[in-house]
């Protein structure tokens, strides 16, 4: 089956048809997607700052990561669900769009870096070394890149 064929099939599924025909459904799912994304960005920024020796320094990194990383995974799950619904509703907008695959590639990098941050947080002593600061900054740039790629899906 080709990508076009798959997109046609996906677009004809009952779930896709329901979302497409319900007034405001796609916009509402997108709003949920953006709210979850903003929540994740806030958590990621706080964590990155802490890895870099800034932000909530009164709390040990291991404790902060112990709270924020699970919350980030919850946000990612919500983003996966809402994102999947958007793909199902409008497969032609995403499945053959190079920008979508750029976003997914960056997401993979973000997930790997989240695992790295989680691992760093468990190590003693917690030191804001230059490599850690650099990776924390890269971590945020990757999340910003995901947002930009997500917006550019609409322009391709």
């Amino acid at each position: 089956m080709t990508l076009i064929g798959f997109s046609h099939w996906l677009s004809s599924t009952p779930l896709s048809q329901v979302i497409q025909r319900t007034h405001g459904a796609i916009a509402s799912i997108q709003v949920v997607h953006i709210i979850c994304l903003a929540t994740l960005v806030g958590l990621a920024l706080s964590l990155s700052l802490r890895v870099a020796g800034r932000g909530f320094t009164a709390e040990p990194l291991s404790s902060l990561a112990g709270r924020f990383v699970p919350a980030m995974w919850v946000c990612l799950c919500a983003l996966a669900v809402s994102g999947s619904l958007l793909i199902i509703a409008e497969p032609f907008r995403t499945i053959r769009n190079p920008m979508f695959y750029t976003k997914m590639s960056l997401l993979l990098v973000a997930i790997v870096l989240t695992l790295w941050v989680s691992s760093v947080a468990r190590r003693e002593p917690e030191r804001a070394t230059l490599p850690r600061i650099a990776v924390a900054a890269l971590y945020m740039l990757v999340w910003f890149g995901i947002i930009v790629a997500g917006r550019f899906i609409a322009y391709r």
Binding site: Q30, A38, T39, V41, F56, E59, V148, G150, R151
Partner: protein
């Protein structure tokens, strides 16, 4: 008079440049800075409501987060102004845009009321459970910012 000003605004060289070339980039930066504004506000407000980071004093959480909130908000104002200029007449007549501006105003009023009234006695509740007025301010802020994001997304669906 307003219509003439808006027409003039969207024909300035900056506005035309944004409209014809830079809009996707400007809009993307707007979404990035919006995510930072909303994300940091969510962390402060969920603390204010007493749901998260309860071992940290509220004033500590807000002191560490709000500089980032304000910095990102300033960038959002710049990018938002550039987008507005690119299609001033269209945005001015756009209902979700007007709603978003109204909601931003309400969010500001909510914050001001909290700062002037409830926050004055923060030393009494900083490390404990926030009083009902503080929790209400936090809930209102969370709801308003979700609505701001929602109305912002709707702008593009209705824009001329």
């Amino acid at each position: 008079m307003i219509a003439e000003f808006l027409e003039w605004l969207q024909h300035t060289s900056i506005a035309v440049s944004v409209s014809e070339v830079w809009f996707p980039v400007v809009e993307s930066f707007h979404v990035v800075t919006m995510a930072i504004v909303a994300g940091t506000i969510f962390i402060v407000d969920t603390r204010l409501v007493g749901l998260t980071s309860t071992r940290l004093p509220f004033s500590y959480v807000s002191d560490r987060m709000l500089p980032w909130t304000w910095g990102a908000f300033a960038c959002s104002v710049v990018t938002g102004t550039l987008m507005f200029m690119s299609n001033a007449t269209g945005y001015y007549d756009n209902t979700p845009f007007r709603l978003k501006m109204g909601l931003l105003l309400l969010a500001g009023v909510n914050m001001l009321c909290f700062q002037k009234v409830t926050f004055r006695r923060v030393s009494e509740w900083d490390s404990g459970r926030p009083p009902p007025a503080a929790r209400l301010a936090g809930l209102i802020s969370l709801a308003l910012w979700c609505a701001i994001i929602g109305s912002g997304r709707w702008i593009g669906f209705i824009l001329d």
